[in-house]
């Protein structure tokens, strides 16, 4: 015992969670991809040879944006409910997250329908169409992937197979979802505020 006191006992060997580190790496890589699309959008802003231009056809998607951003809060509440072993609450918040995300995606679908059918703006129309659909579409794709994973999590949670040992995984998923929301802040600012 006395020897144990002399030899400095090192603190327990703790390393970061590989799921979180892996997701952080993915987020960095994805951010770089989005940056390139944002740069392309800004670079071509106002360089269209033909219309329509952003200010003519774009409306602020305020309601759907609020929905998407609120879903960051609901996924956070889902994770913390799982932390407190309240599984029903976790399912509820996951369902809310899926619902909010779906509303956002539905809003994008309606917006695109209006742009394509009424305003005649497609990917091929002009530089605005090219950069708008690719940037917003890239983000929507990420929302879709997130929604699929969230729905899976919701199903697991509903049939009771999501337990305390899956907290780490749900946290990794919530990191991804937060990232998708954060990207929307950038896209919203660039496309709907600065770009208009």
């Amino acid at each position: 015992m006395s020897q144990a006191a002399v030899i400095p006992q090192t603190t327990p060997w703790v390393l970061p969670s590989r799921g979180v580190v892996g997701m952080a790496c993915l987020i960095v890589a994805e951010s770089a991809i989005f940056t390139i699309f944002v740069v392309a959008y800004l670079y071509y802003l106002g360089k269209d040879l033909t219309g329509p231009t952003p200010s003519q056809v774009l409306d602020l998607p305020i309601f759907t944006s609020i929905c998407l951003l609120s879903s960051s809060l609901s996924i956070h509440l889902a994770v913390s409910a799982l932390h407190h072993a309240k599984r029903d609450l976790c399912s509820l918040w996951l369902a809310v997250t899926v619902l909010l995300g779906s509303i956002f995606l539905g809003g994008t679908a309606l917006e695109w329908h209006k742009l394509i059918v009424h305003d005649g703006l497609t990917l091929q129309t002009n530089l605005f169409g090219t950069t708008f659909y690719s940037l917003v579409g890239l983000h929507a794709t990420h929302v879709l992937v997130g929604l699929i994973m969230l729905t899976l999590a919701l199903l697991f949670s509903l049939n009771g197979s999501m337990t305390a040992k899956h907290i780490g995984r749900l946290e990794v998923l919530s990191l991804y979802w937060h990232f998708v929301d954060a990207v929307w802040v950038v896209v919203f600012t660039v496309v709907y505020v600065l770009g208009r």
Binding site: T10, W13, L15, P16, S17, R18, V21, G22, C25, L26, V28, A29, E30, S31, A32, I33, F34, T35, I36, F37, A40, Y43, Y44, K47, D48, L49, L123, Q124, N126, L127, G129, T130, T131, Y133, S134, L138
Partner: protein
């Protein structure tokens, strides 16, 4: 299970070898073991190295004399496109990731990578990319009958990649192959970072990690911010070609220069992604064969991280001839010059490591010393080209080709050979023949200097890159003749190396766990290491854990 008892003896002797082959194949295809995947990466890269090397030889035959008709201009375009694309994406990246896959877990005392199945996925998706690129030779003709292998150059400048100028599917194969290889690279890089941060054995603090692991950490982090822009640009190019968008369509107001920016935002850090693992090998090999600990460990780490950051701000020195304006030119000239400072720190530290050491001139060390010398020269011509007015004169000439081949061959390839001689015993359990290794070194050294020293001269005389032939009165002939003759030496040296690897695998002396009396953890395992790497997870006290074990009276931990 029960069936193994039933077959007649004659049938079983016939069936057994075949089942064995299938078993081995099944084992390799389904493996998630980091060592097997590392070897798959390396083997795959070596096959492509030979293919792309043959392409280089064909180009050198074509250029050896003026007005040559050995290959058609179209074939020549395909040759330099495929040579560049293959060497960067399907030789350089996989071979470096192969070594990283194999060595990083072993060096940090881990049993596997953080995500073994992602590791397998990344390898196979990259491999598929490579096969797709080469399938273009058969499948790219398309309905129009035009096509064949991609012929737009490895940086595929817009608007050359537009449908009008690249009919058929050759460019589609190129962009898909690179997209897939990029996904694989990002997956592996993610894996290496997560392994390094989350899988270290007890006591393996960041400040005690072998420098190789540090450099792989920096390289992999660079991959995220470097390969991703390329992936984004490839998505845009694909949208342009398939969906009729206008990213790089100059007719609709799109910009060809934007593609250049996107490509070189990838392209220049890519050079550092390739060279940093070469530095990593040097950091492990030079100390062991100088019998000294590495000089200036913290400075080496700082310099590596510094190179990583600065490399992100130098891309437009590939675009001086575009006419960026004085502000941008000044910035990129300065940034490019600044990056030589941390690189210089590294060179001086390697020299200081060798200085006063008891140098063992093994084949591995000889290649490492060749690397030091040649990388210095490559860096110096790099500083020359970083000066914008100088670059205006020599941009897109053979001087540039000579400069970057000096980096890629004289730097990276030499260090790769060095790494093969150093780690082959660990990977195969057999030593490579030192005698053949030294022949390989000298033949390859002569070939390298004949080719790439003299390649600077036609560049200075005004020979542009990518021309398929030239007139006799330009005065370039003698230089091209020398350059081409050097290529023969390099091919001979490489053949000797391949022969050495095959011969040594069957006949080479048994290596034992630690043939070089080295200090890092991979040498504490048997050669080749078992699937689980370490029977017992080691605990480390210093940067040289095996030194501590071999010298319990004077452990390193006392001085760090």
């Amino acid at each position: 299970m029960a069936a193994t008892h039933t077959p007649a003896p004659a049938a079983s002797t016939q069936l057994q070898p075949r089942r064995l082959v299938l078993d081995i194949l099944h084992d390799w295809v389904t493996t998630v073991d980091h060592k097997k995947l590392g070897l798959l990466y390396i083997g795959y890269a070596l096959i492509f190295l030979v293919i792309a090397g043959v392409q280089a030889l064909l180009m050198r035959v074509q250029l050896s004399i003026p007005n040559n008709n050995f290959v058609t201009p179209q074939t020549f375009n395909q040759l330099f496109t495929m040579h560049g694309t293959t060497m960067v994406f399907f030789v350089g990246m996989p071979i470096l990731f192969g070594f990283g896959n194999y060595l990083v877990p072993l060096m940090i005392g881990a049993r596997d990578m953080a995500f073994p199945r992602l590791n397998a996925f990344s390898f196979w998706i990259s491999a598929f990319g490579g096969f797709l690129l080469y399938f273009s030779y058969l499948g790219a003709s398309g309905l129009s009958g035009a096509g064949g292998a991609p012929d737009v150059g490895w940086f595929a400048y817009a608007p050359l990649t537009a449908h009008v100028f690249s009919p058929g599917h050759s460019t589609d194969y190129w962009t898909l192959a690179i997209l897939l290889s990029g996904i694989g690279s990002i997956g592996t890089a993610l894996n290496i970072v997560a392994t390094t941060l989350c899988m270290r054995c007890p006591g393996m603090k960041l400040s005690r990690m072998p420098l190789l692991v540090w450099l792989y950490l920096v390289t992999s982090s660079l991959v995220f911010v470097t390969i991703s822009p390329l992936t984004a640009a490839q998505i845009m190019l694909m949208l342009d070609r398939y969906a009729g968008s206008h990213f790089f369509d100059t007719q609709a107001g799109g910009s060809a220069v934007l593609w250049m920016h996107f490509f070189w935002i990838f392209g220049h850090p890519e050079v550092y992604i390739l060279i940093l693992p070469a530095f990593a090998f040097a950091n492990e090999i030079i100390p062991v064969f100088s019998r000294k600990a590495i000089f200036g460990y913290p400075a080496m780490v700082a310099a590596s991280v510094g190179i990583g950051f600065i490399s992100l701000s130098v891309w437009a020195h590939h675009m001086f001839t575009v006419g960026l304006g004085p502000g941008a030119n000044t910035f990129f000239t300065l940034a490019t010059m600044v990056i030589s400072v941390p690189t210089g720190i590294k060179l001086f530290n390697w020299l200081a490591t060798i200085w006063g050491g008891k140098i063992h001139f093994t084949a591995s060390m000889m290649f490492a010393i060749g690397f030091l010398f040649q990388f210095l020269i490559a860096g110096l011509t790099g500083i020359m080209l970083s000066v914008a007015p100088f670059d205006w004169q020599l941009g897109s000439s053979y001087f540039v080709v000579a400069h970057f081949h000096y980096v890629l061959v004289g730097g990276i390839l030499f260090m790769l050979f060095s790494a093969f001689y150093y780690w082959y015993p660990k990977m195969s359990g057999h030593m490579l023949s030192e005698r053949l290794g030294k022949w390989h070194f000298w033949i390859f050294l002569i070939g390298f200097h004949l080719t790439f020293d003299f390649m600077h001269v036609p560049g200075l005389l005004g020979m542009p890159r990518r021309i398929y032939t030239y007139e006799a009165d330009r005065g370039w002939m003698i230089w091209n003749m020398i350059v081409s003759s050097g290529a023969i030496f390099q091919a001979a040296g490489t053949l000797l190396f391949v022969y050495n690897m095959i011969w040594s695998y069957f006949k080479g002396p048994i290596a034992g766990p630690d043939p070089w009396d080295a200090w890092t953890l991979e040498w504490s395992t048997p050669s080749p290491p078992p699937e689980y790497n370490f029977a017992e997870i080691p605990t480390v006290e210093s940067r040289r854990p095996l030194w501590d074990i071999k010298h319990p009276d004077d452990p390193d931990s006392r001085y760090e």
